[in-house]
Symmetry: C2
Subunit: 350 residues, 2 copies
DNA sequence: CAAAAAATTGGAACCGTTCCCATCAAAAAA
DNA sequence: TTTTTTGATGGGAACGGTTCCAATTTTTTG
């Protein structure tokens, strides 16, 4: 089967020179006479020569391509991290291939194998909520493919990663709720499998403790990040004998789904119940009332992760993280106060 | 340089058989004795053999991978189309590589070349708002790589595509505004380069004509889809001697940005100005008031495009669309009426 | 102007896999 | 038992590029 793509051999034949020379001319090797180079370049362009990355990667053992794996991309968080990654990587001459897992562990494993089978040079990852087994990640490491994690980092793996201080950010968010006079603060936490869940919950607990508010286990529920469950759990909170006067939600979609339940029940936000989310998703400013939330520097997270990966890639001797401590970078967050915790009139006076 | 990946030659050497036999065992060729196959499979799994897709694609001239190119993915529209595409393609045993253009023509060209250099078997595309030159698309076709377009389809190219009836949907949306008694209906249109812009505007014009509302050129502006411009143009509309009492926006982000301008000016939605968007982005239900909009079956669009591409891929003889008419599939839209056009009390009575 | 040095080019190996063809062994048929 | 058919395996070319080394040409130098 003859392919329709032009090859360097086609060019070589037409010019009656060897393919080595054509290759040299095309890659900008210095040892090519000017007229030869010109002839090759002209013919290549007129024949619309398109180099075969498969052949190239195959023969050079490096593809100049990296992969990025995200658990989902319906919120704006991951897309905007990806934009940051592409930014840095394209400037560095790398191609970026995006894989999306739909929060499925199975997809994650198969996408990882896909990326490895395409011999990507490195991978930036945030794992799914289902991921409890990390063998597919260590496999990549054993193959010499550097990994950089962000946001969701496996906590028993020593890998380079970019995160925010989830603990501190949660602590501040809860302190904000306390500052506006709330005492019965509920927390809708995420799945146990995510570090973020544990850190943010600890921040919540410690903020309560600092302000001498006793911890009430009835007000903390972990859930699987599905919209249906939010509705059930939120209804449960509101039906308690003494319902909460505030909610700290693991993320913005959770907070927004919770707001709907509150509104459907005819309660007022923030008067009856104040709500705080996490990540400052684009939708946080759109909902009514505007959602108070912890902003993450998403594009920066992407850029930083990309730079970290570039470090790994250009290290002549691969860093061995079974011996050496892997680098972590923590980026700052910022509490964005909106109407879901402070009524509009007060906000304006600020 | 020795790669850390196991190859079929490593396996062959260890078992003292030829690489042909190993290859046959791994690909499930029938002519392999059972004990041999078993030995190969076991060793492959214990050595964590991972086939080299570069070598495979290189030798077979087919990669079992398709690309999808989208102009942006910060709204939910394109991500959810992608999910539909992945759905069908994964079931059919194909890998999907996602490329995101950031609405940049330059990125589009370079991503197209990237996909071609990786010899993908086919590509699903929605072009950027900047794209006016389609050479990179015809290049793919000349290389025998089938294309399927969706949403944004170059109108002077004969290519398979999946769309909605933009004209009809716009017509209905505007009729809805007329039905609720609006007479001065403004239209914020998109860039001239997109078919959607032209079709939706035509729908707008024809709806006015049908209901004997004279066309007022002052009330129609085309713009480049940037948030800053919406603000300027919307302010301009509101500052007219007789400002519009309704707005039909090219898409939901436009409508939502326009709503902010209206609210900032202290006007009421829908009483002073009713607003309709397009696509039913996830945020349309979140904004306050809820945005009336035209829902598109996004996941279905993705699934349909994927199925169309599969048709192209399995055609033994490639369809030549320089001769033959390319198929088009039009999927249904649905007008979703929310509070931005009908006040809550009336909505409830319906 | 011949010899040495430098620049340019060609040839061949290599990368990992598939696949066609040849070979050989085993099983079936004569 | 011999021949034919079938099944299992090995050998090697092909895919498109890079790269090292050798060969050739050109330039420089003594």
């Amino acid at each position: 089967m003859k392919s329709k793509y032009t090859t360097i051999i086609d060019i070589a034949r037409q010019l009656n020179i060897s393919k080595s020379t054509v290759s040299r001319a095309l890659t900008g090797h210095p040892n090519v006479k000017e007229p030869t180079r010109k002839a090759v370049l002209e013919l290549a362009s007129s024949m619309e020569y398109q180099r075969n990355s498969l052949a190239l990667g195959f023969s050079k053992h490096t593809t100049n391509t990296i992969g990025i794996m995200v658990p989902e991309f319906m919120s704006t968080y991951f897309p905007s991290v990806i934009v940051g990654v592409q930014d840095v990587m394209q400037a560095a001459g790398y191609n970026v291939v995006i894989c999306q897992q739909n929060e499925s562990y199975e997809s994650e494993v198969s996408n990882m194998k896909l990326l490895l089978s395409y011999r990507v040079d490195g991978i930036i990852v945030s794992h799914t909520k289902e991921t409890r087994n990390f063998d597919h990640f260590t496999l990549a490491q054993r193959r010499g493919v550097p990994l950089v994690f962000f946001n969701r980092v496996p906590d028993d793996m020593n890998v380079p990663n970019v995160v925010v201080n989830d603990y501190e950010a949660a602590f501040q968010a809860v302190e904000h709720l306390i500052a506006i006079g709330r005492k019965r603060i509920a927390h809708l936490a995420g799945p146990e499998s995510l570090v973020n869940t544990r850190l943010r919950r600890q921040g919540y607990l410690d903020a309560l403790k600092k302000h001498d508010i006793p911890y009430n286990p009835d007000l903390v529920l972990s859930y699987d990040l599905t919209t249906e469950k939010v509705k059930i759990y939120m209804k449960h909170f509101l039906d308690l004998a003494t319902p909460p006067d505030a909610l700290f939600a693991i993320n913005d979609p959770t907070a927004i789904a919770a707001m709907e339940v509150v509104k459907a029940k005819g309660l007022r936000i923030p008067e009856d119940i104040a709500i705080v989310g996490f990540s400052n998703d684009f939708s946080a400013q759109l909902v009514y009332p505007g959602l108070t939330t912890v902003a993450q520097p998403t594009a920066d997270i992407g850029r930083t992760a990309a730079e970290m990966l570039l470090q790994e890639l250009k290290a002549k001797v691969k860093n061995d993280y079974t011996i050496k401590k892997a680098p972590t970078i923590q980026l700052p967050t910022k509490l964005i106060v909106r109407e879901s915790t402070v009524s509009p009139s007060k906000l304006r006076n600020k």
